[in-house]
């Protein structure tokens, strides 16, 4: 059940999508891309963003055609009750796995750079509770809190970026296009999945005040993410060099080590940046938990869905502890992205669009 005060405007939607896409993964993005395509990483990101915008267009098209129906309701309308529900279940699994692994990345980074002696469990524990509390308040509360957070972290990241620009050597970006085609394809896969969060648009249409502006707002968000990713990747390559960027797990954090603020009024820039990324992890988790609660509520045909946030707490915690090392966690992330994210972002919207068009023509006939 969506009431009038459960709706957001297009600028809030843009911020929502931006903060859903940017998560902990960006800290390791330059390294993961460089291992495939070396210094062409930033070019691959541009192509990956264009691919995501294309699929965003498909998602928005599906949303426009089925504007008055929710995501699961649309699936049921297109494929029937049973098949429609079955098709929605992998999306729920994807959200839960994504949140669990995002929590783990958050825990690892926080432990490494901020809370060295605190056990991983006690770093993850409070974040799950905080995320649950905010999601239970509904989309308006989420959108308002995101509106405040985006400016705080945006300003701080911009300031740190400018401070880090003094060590850049632009010659590190050359030569272009020296890798074999297969490397660009595998790098593109990494780049495309770095924009995970776009799929949240699948459920957003019933919550938007002016749905006709949704695509524009979401595309602006993707462009903002693209700029952020390019700035970070270029800074890593030009400041650290190709080989070092490739060899580091968290090159963005290593980059901050080389930053010195003029006047020296901030001593531990690394800690400050780690604290900022905590907010990105929080917003990304909130977006995905909201995504999950809406779909789970629709699958069970419940009018309210906040209890799904409450009941996911222990499940998320157990998933976040999977994998004995950070390498295992990245393997799990690759698995989730390859199968579940591909299904949710690329396969399902295309199938939904084809069936929406067929059904629309049949109904006209």
């Amino acid at each position: 059940m969506i009431t009038d005060n459960d709706k957001i405007n297009s600028s809030e939607l843009g911020i929502f999508i931006f903060l859903a896409v940017v998560g902990m993964g960006v800290l390791s993005l330059p390294s993961r891309l460089n291992s495939h395509v070396n210094n062409d990483a930033w070019l691959v990101i541009i192509v990956a963003a264009l691919i995501n915008i294309l699929f965003l267009y498909i998602i928005c098209k599906v949303g426009k055609i089925n504007q008055n129906r929710g995501f699961v309701e649309t699936l049921r309308f297109l494929f029937g009750n049973i098949l429609g529900t079955i098709l929605a279940i992998p999306v729920i699994i994807y959200c839960i796995l994504f949140m669990g692994l995002e929590l783990r990345l958050f825990g690892e980074v926080t432990k490494l750079y901020l809370l060295h002696k605190t056990p991983l469990e006690f770093i993850i524990f409070p974040l799950i509770i905080l995320v649950t509390i905010l999601v239970r308040k509904g989309i308006e509360a989420i959108a308002h809190s995101f509106g405040i957070l985006v400016f705080i972290i945006g300003f701080a990241v911009l300031a740190l970026t400018l401070a880090g620009s003094q060590n850049m050597q632009m010659s590190n970006l050359r030569p272009f296009f020296t890798q074999p085609l297969s490397n660009y394809i595998s790098g593109l896969m990494v780049g495309v999945y770095a924009f995970s969060g776009v799929e949240i648009m699948l459920i957003m249409y019933p919550y938007i005040k002016k749905p006709q502006r949704a695509f524009k707002a979401a595309t602006s968000a993707i462009v903002a993410v693209l700029v952020l990713y390019i700035v970070i990747t270029v800074q890593c390559i030009t400041s650290l060099g190709n080989e070092e960027t490739k060899s580091l797990v968290w090159p963005v954090m290593a980059l901050t080590k080389s930053i010195s603020i003029p006047g020296g009024f901030v001593e531990d820039v690394e800690g400050l940046l780690a604290a900022l990324w905590v907010i990105y992890a929080f917003t990304s988790l909130v977006s995905f938990m909201f995504f999950y609660t809406v779909i789970a509520g629709d699958v069970f045909k419940h009018k309210k869905n906040k209890h799904f946030a409450s009941l996911s707490i222990p499940v998320l915690y157990i998933i976040s502890l999977q994998g004995s090392s950070i390498a295992d966690v990245f393997k799990l992330i690759d698995f989730v992205m390859r199968y579940f994210s591909s299904y949710t972002t690329f396969v399902l919207p295309v199938i939904m669009l084809i069936f929406s068009l067929i059904k629309g023509k049949r109904m006209q006939g």
């Binding site: 799950i128 239970r136 045909k301 419940h302 309210k304 409450s310 009941l311 707490i313 222990p314």
Partner: protein, 70 residues
């Protein structure tokens, strides 16, 4: 079966039990009360069942994790 028991032994510690209890606290004290007040019977029943399941199941699985030795 053995892999399930190993999983239970590895992951069901006091922290997980605490999270099961916190989760049921949210379900019992916040969700169930709200749904009852709003006369949302289906949601109320669902939340109640899950809350009870989490409390009972949490203690049972924690007990099993303590007792088994693999």
């Amino acid at each position: 079966m053995k892999s399930v028991l190993i999983f239970v032994q590895n992951y069901f510690n006091i922290n997980v039990l605490a999270l099961f209890l916190i989760s049921s606290f949210f379900l019992f004290n916040l969700d169930c009360k709200e749904y009852k007040a709003k006369n949302l019977k289906k949601e109320y029943k669902f939340s109640m069942v899950i809350a009870i399941l989490y409390i009972v199941g949490g203690f049972i699985i924690y007990g099993i994790a303590k007792v088994i030795n693999i």
